[in-house]
Amino acid sequence: MRVATDVGGTFTDLVCVDANGVRTVKADTTPPNFEQGVLNAIDKSDLDAAQFDYFAHGTTVVINALLSRKGSKTALITTRGFRDVLEIARGNRPDLFNIAFEKPAPFVPRYLRHEVTERLSYDGEVSTPVQLQELDEIVAHLRAEQVEAIAICLLHGYVNPIHEQQIKQRVLELWPQAAVIASHEVCREWREYERTSTTVLSAYVLPITNRYLGRLESHLHEKGLKPSPFIMQSNGGVATVKGTLADPITLVESGPASGMLGAASIGQIIGEENLIALDIGGTTAKCALIHEGKAQITTEYRIEWDRENPGYPIRTPVVDLVEIGNGGGSIAWIDEGNRMHVGPQSAGSSPGPAAYGRGGDNATTTDANLLLGRINPELFLGGEQKPDWNSLYNAFDKLAQQLGGSHEEVARGVIRIANANMVNALKLVSLNRGYDPRDFSLIAFGGGGAMHAVALAEELKVKKVIVPVNASVFSAWGMLMSDLRRDFLQTSVENLKECDPATVDSRYNDIACAAQQQCENEGIQREQMYVERYADMRYLGQEHTIKIPLADGNIDQQALKVACQEFHRAHEREYCFTLDNPIELVNYHVVVFGKIEKQPLVEKATTGASLEDARKAVRKVDFDDQGIHEADIYDLARLEPGMSFVGPAIIEDATNTIVITPHKQVRMDAYGNIHILIEGQD
């Protein structure tokens, strides 16, 4: 029996898969003791933890600690002359015209940023040996200040970690209980500010992650769990607890990553290798591109970053996703120039949309969907509560008075603008990177994904929409589809026109060997392992790179030639031109996977029932510019593989609403996934 639990903002989801199929449970999330929600979910499921062969866990403990500043008092040890790098940051001001701009405060105040005499040159040669005796005084100061975590980041430590290793060792000799993370353990890419920030943030969340995983693990073992749990990482793989604690910042996007990975997995099962994945929740929508079965990974990740704030960079491998402030609870509002906007402010779950009747007086996307008949009032909030229509009409009155038009016209406008925002985000991950959406299917999940997906797909011109089975607990399900995964990136610039392929080959081998060794130390079996290699490449003179996958086997002249051709193609696709300049390899990227056996997806049973049995009603639904129609309403639970019909229609249950515009062909596949054709033939 294989089990995954995913801690979300509102609910803690549990998914259990065995030969009998899939079972799901939702329990309340229980801040601040999140492990309690996990235990409650297990209790609620009536499952016996002693029977779990495998247990995966996705957690928001890291992102919560960062966003609420609940991490530990952290210190930094760095190269003499450079302690202010963390505070200067990059000096940028995205809010260009705002003179009252506020610069983000560093996570380590200046008095806890210490300098050590040492220096490496840019090629990693020691130019000034490290003066370890300076650490006596520094460590004494940090102990006196009751610092809980220490980050070490030195200039050019990514090329040669020798001084960082020496300093870490000396700190631990002086203070054996100290929680210490050095930059080479979390990031081997150049740019000292980004690497320092990553190291500092990893140290900042180390103690809290350690405590949380410790409590979780011991409670689970008390319940009888035998295997050690695996923890979902931001890179779309899982890791052992030991591996996670070596670099806890890898958990920063734990939840969203597994949803995207689930999308990739289901795509492989049903033969859809090119997908645009869309996850719409209460406050945000997230999307990612899956090309040839793989989600893209990036290390250019930042928290608290938007058009007005520089945020904090975290150079850890993260599934490359775009997140925007548009979800079910996003508020519609009008600015001084009389333009309507939707989001990014959200009504959240309290007070929630106007129709919740909990004092929310702003119209939200959910309210608009309700008003247009797309959400079934009987199933509102899982059928547990009737919509508060007075509150909803009052909210739309406010907008209609300013903009003119009926409630319905305003509601259509709200959806249109929300959809336009989401289409822009979907274009960011597809068109803007040179991918043609017509080669892709849109896979939609999360609470609101299926409600908007068809309209978005029409706008984007993808060929079809897929609403996967288990769409409402998709992130937890995705964890059961992932392998163990650790990413190792190393900046080392090679001019591919001049370099010896053997050098490149041996460097990849060195990194892969060290990586496999580390994975073995973290509890991954050698025989489970397989390796993928990527090269971050650019034209000589450029700064930004494009990630190119490398074929397996030795890297020789021919392999480099193929990689270069691939790079030219990728550059042409993304930027519409190529150059004759020599090409540089900038980052060596090695991924070590640990293969995990998975339960195959079980086909949905058929009973011989007819489509008519699943059609439970007809309801008037407003499809905006495609008119108001009497739409067939289908019960998702009673649809069976092979059934097909044509929109206008709604498919619904207590947690899902799939909106299907007129003339669209719909069918359910063998596993229970819903396919909606947008253009062309299936």
Binding site: L96, Q542, Y575
Partner: protein
């Protein structure tokens, strides 16, 4: 596909959002393909879309300095090439005295966009090229005396016609610049940005039709106007005045007086620079388009910093300045460090109004971009290198908080400092420190933000340093009893040691350096706000603990 209701207000909203998004996309395309750190790190460039008349519709900015330049370039093209503009044409220009010109380093590339054989828009970008020839590597210098020393002039010419490259123009261009590969790489990056914009515009026009998109463009301009008008009504009304001094013109040593008189009424904002110093002999002059950009920038900061900039935002703004002043130079006056003076135009308005709009304006900040050029060779490869960059420094305090430490000037924006690790690897200099300094300045109830030291040690046999560090003689101003900040300057440490007397410059032109010499670049601490005696003891204690002030300063200034 269903028919689209042409003038549905929500459809128009969506077109407007898409137009704004085009600016962002063009911006990203340029950054990711550029060959020069000044573009991909400092983001010293701007992209934009205008309508067929040249009204600015959307702009993507890395810096604030280009706010007045996209639209005037297009107006210039329309005037000069009337009847001679075809699909597939590309224009290139850097004339400082017309067409939105600044200095020769800023090269604009413009592409007319056609739909159904009609000219419907332009996509434009303007970027700082690392070198455009002239007397000095990096092309800007502090002591030029005429434009001809500052690089090749491109008086808005075609570089593509009907889709074909005009190779002769490209050849002339390449022959006149020091690093043709890098600069032509940036040219192609600019072309890529324009093509991205053109593609997206085509999509919009084919989907919604010419009539609807044009209507959305007009509404976007009206929207900008309406949003700003609402803010002008909230500004203090009346006349305001400020004056200040520019250090010198780079050739001589005399300070230059500049001043502004501002009149704010219910629906108009007038800035009059009459009385400012006449056009100077040195390259400190700015042309009128720099002046307009500067006033637009501070005007936007005071009214609505948030909304995307377009031509409509500036309809209530009037800029008055007589001909041939330091703010309105005429050919062939040198202009290569124009930004120093351009920024004074912003700063004068800022200074005149800071106490009247304290929620939006701070005390004086470092102001100068503190741009420098270090040219030499990479010791490992022997290849020539030109390191060009701006520097971070201190911002002014506000009425209720300290100023920001280590930020770029208002001239910059989404500008990134160069990582030390990349600087050392790519340029072969050694960076000795990058840190806040404790020079006196900016004390007050709220303190100005800290300025920085950045030290480069020369590792090749011979190198040259050029730098323009304005506010060397006249530090950033304080407000309401807050003290003035410290100065921007550069000090050369020969063989790593201070000279006697110290070798200090506000403006340095091609100062020769030898291996082992250290260039210490020092940026200003911002101005303070409020009397230092009112600073809270806790704040002073925190500053001491963090080393932001010395114990001597705490004693002397704050009596602790």
């Amino acid at each position: 596909m269903p028919a689209i209701e042409q003038d549905n207000p929500y459809t128009l909203e969506i077109i407007k959002s898409s137009l704004i998004a085009i600016g962002d996309e063009m911006f990203a395309a340029m950054s990711r393909t550029s060959m020069s750190p000044i573009i991909y790190e400092a983001l010293d460039y701007s992209v934009g879309v205008t309508d067929a008349k040249g009204d600015l519709i959307a702009q993507g900015n890395g810096t604030t300095v280009f706010l007045g330049m996209i639209d005037s370039l297009v107006e210039d093209i329309l005037a000069k090439f009337q009847g001679n503009i075809y699909e597939g044409d590309v224009f290139v220009g850097n004339d400082p005295y017309s067409g939105g010109g600044t200095h020769l380093c800023d090269v604009a590339i413009a592409k007319p966009v056609f739909f159904n054989d009609q000219l419907v828009a332009f996509t434009v970008n303007k970027a700082h090229w690392v070198d455009v020839g002239g007397m000095s590597p990096g092309s800007f210098t502090t002591n030029a005396s005429e434009i001809f020393q500052e690089g090749i002039q491109l008086p808005t010419v075609k570089i593509f016609e009907k889709g074909d490259a005009l190779d002769s123009v490209i050849d002339i261009l390449k022959a006149n610049i020091r690093m043709p590969e890098s600069s032509m790489g940036d040219f192609w990056a600019g072309m890529a940005a324009n093509n991205v914009g053109e593609g997206r515009l085509h999509d919009l026009f084919s989907k919604y039709g010419e009539h609807t998109v044009k209507r959305a463009m007009d509404e976007l301009l009206e929207y900008g106007e309406t949003m700003i008008a609402a803010e002008i009504r909230k500004l203090p009304k009346g006349s305001f005045y400020a004056e200040d001094w520019i250090d010198d013109d780079g050739l001589g040593d005399e300070p230059l007086k500049v001043c502004v008189k501002i009149d704010i009424t219910e629906d108009k904002f007038v800035a009059d620079f009459s009385g400012s110093a006449p056009q100077a002999l040195g390259p400190i002059n700015t042309s009128r388009s720099g002046l307009v950009s500067a006033v637009r920038t501070i005007f936007k900061a005071m009214t609505n910093p948030k909304i995307p900039a377009n031509g409509g935002c500036f309809r209530a703004l009037e800029v008055i300045c007589p001909e041939e002043t330091v703010f309105s130079a005429k050919r062939p006056a040198p202009v290569s460090t124009y930004w120093e003076t351009m920024l004074y135009a912003e700063d004068l308005i800022w200074k005149a109004l800071a106490e009247h709009i304290p929620e939006r304006l701070s005390a004086g900040h470092l102001l100068s971009v503190c741009a420098f050029i270090l040219s030499g060779t990479h010791p490992a490869t022997g290849e020539p290198t030109i390191l060009v960059g701006p520097l971070v420094g201190g911002w002014g305090a506000m009425k209720d908080r300290d100023g920001l430490n280590g930020q770029f000037s208002i001239a910059d924006g989404e500008t990134y400092n160069f990582p030390v690790e990349i600087t050392e690897a790519r340029y072969g200099v050694k960076v000795n420190q990058y840190a806040f300094h404790n020079e006196d300045g900016g004390f007050g109830r709220y303190q100005g933000g800290k300025g920085n030291y950045l030290e480069y040690e020369v590792c090749c046999e011979e190198a040259f340093f050029t730098g323009s560090f304005g506010r060397f003689k006249f530090p950033p101003w304080g407000v309401d009893g807050g003290l003035q900040g410290s100065s921007n300057y550069v000090e050369i440490l020969r063989g790593g040691q201070p000279c006697d007397p110290p070798e200090i410059y506000g403006k340095a032109a091609r100062v020769p350096l030898k291996k082992g010499d250290v260039v210490r670049m020092v940026t200003a601490t911002g101005g303070g706000w409020g009397d230092p005696s009112l600073r809270s003891p806790q704040a002073v204690a925190e500053d001491l603990k963090n080393g932001y002030i010395t114990s001597e300063q705490a004693q002397r200034v704050y009596g602790r």
